[in-house]
């Protein structure tokens, strides 16, 4: 049986196609002005990669902040449930899920089946989300994908005074002007995100194993510092960004 999960986030839409419980294909598309059109594009890409058509897909479930903005999903599920489901499928030993996306971060406590027991979210403030990394990458004049590795080169911990992405932009500019090394600035930013994330996750309690997903989980700098502040090394899937969509596709499968 083939099912699909669509995770429509603030910045990207992820589509995962599952066949008999295995990932057949996936796509990640930047969400443009027209959300519906972007998700359709994502679905088209994933179908093409799998070599199938939409008629071959039995059930499609949507999740994410934009989950209502598709023309083809049969139903929707909350991203908290989808995250937990996806994380448990990837790592059955998971008990704590941390999802840091472009504009929101979540901490989820779950059981072995991926059932949600408790959760916390931060969706009001950009500091502590992927948007912070992007804004700082721009200020540091590096590519977002390079930020993680850049931060790992840091040997010195520097204090970052501001707690707002907007103010941080100007603080970073003046730090650069006063000769502070970019690698140290990058890691300081990663540290700010990691500490905020850990604070949020503490609200649901931290229990091994911890799984780190979401776009920001691709940032090795944040991942390393997250592990340091948690005192536990988080498990990170090969493609952390599609975990939510995997969860949605699994839930689609359960429905049939």
């Amino acid at each position: 049986m083939i099912t699909a999960g669509v995770d429509i986030g603030a910045e990207t839409a992820k589509v995962v196609i599952l066949r008999d419980g295995q990932v057949l294909s996936y796509s990640v598309v930047v969400v443009g002005v027209d959300m519906k059109q972007s998700t359709e594009q994502g679905l088209g890409e994933a179908l093409h990669k799998a070599g199938i058509t939409i008629d071959d897909v039995k059930h499609i479930t949507a999740t994410g902040t934009g989950r209502k903005h598709t023309s083809f999903a049969h139903d929707q599920v909350s991203e908290v449930i989808a995250d937990a489901k996806g994380a448990a499928w990837l790592f059955p030993t998971v008990r704590t899920v941390i999802d840091v996306g472009a504009e929101e971060s979540r901490g989820i406590k779950c059981d072995a089946e991926g059932k949600v027991l408790d959760f916390a979210r931060n969706e009001k403030c950009a500091a502590g989300t992927g948007t912070f990394v992007e804004a700082m990458a721009k200020a540091l004049e590096v590519k977002v994908e390079e930020m993680g590795e850049l931060g790992l080169l840091s040997q010195k911990e520097i204090p970052l005074n501001v707690t707002c992405v907007i103010f941080a932009e100007s603080e970073v500019v003046s730090l650069i002007h006063s000769g502070v090394n970019k690698v140290d600035i990058a890691q300081a930013i990663h540290n700010a995100i990691a500490t905020r994330t850990v604070s949020m996750v503490r609200r649901v309690g931290i229990e091994k194993d911890v799984v780190f997903i979401g776009g920001v989980a691709k940032n090795v700098g944040v991942a390393a510092l997250l592990g340091k502040h948690l005192g536990i090394e988080p498990l990170i899937p090969e493609n952390p960004q599609i975990a939510g969509a995997i969860g949605a596709a699994l839930i689609a499968r359960q429905k049939e």
């Binding site: 005074n161 905020r196 604070s199």
Partner: protein, 105 residues
């Protein structure tokens, strides 16, 4: 306020200081009433996160203050003492015999 015992005038110009911030997720302020604060410093020692410090204010009184470096992170720094972490009391409030400290959250 005239202190007969020591035979000198202690000028008190009481004011209420709110240290903290509001962001999209809420209001997080620690309030110190300078009229009640006698600069004893117990809060400075009681706080595990070193939130407080003693300063001489504009009226030359020794009073407690929230350190500049922590003001913008109060929500996270005070986390360990809040119900969300399983704590049942705020150590700073417990240590202040004059009741000069209050939290807005």
């Amino acid at each position: 306020m005239f202190d007969w015992f020591f035979n000198r005038q202690i000028l008190t110009l009481p004011y209420i200081a709110n240290y903290g911030y509001t962001d999209a997720s809420g209001d997080y302020y620690i309030t110190i009433d300078s009229q009640k604060c006698d600069g004893c410093g117990k809060c400075v020692d009681a706080c595990p996160e070193k939130v407080f410090e003693l300063i001489t204010d504009d009226y030359d009184n020794l009073v407690a203050k929230v350190r500049n470096g922590v003001v913008r992170n109060l929500k996270y720094i005070c986390g360990p003492c809040k119900p969300v972490s399983g704590a049942t009391e705020l150590k700073c409030l417990r240590s202040c015999e004059k009741g000069a400290i209050s939290h807005s959250w």
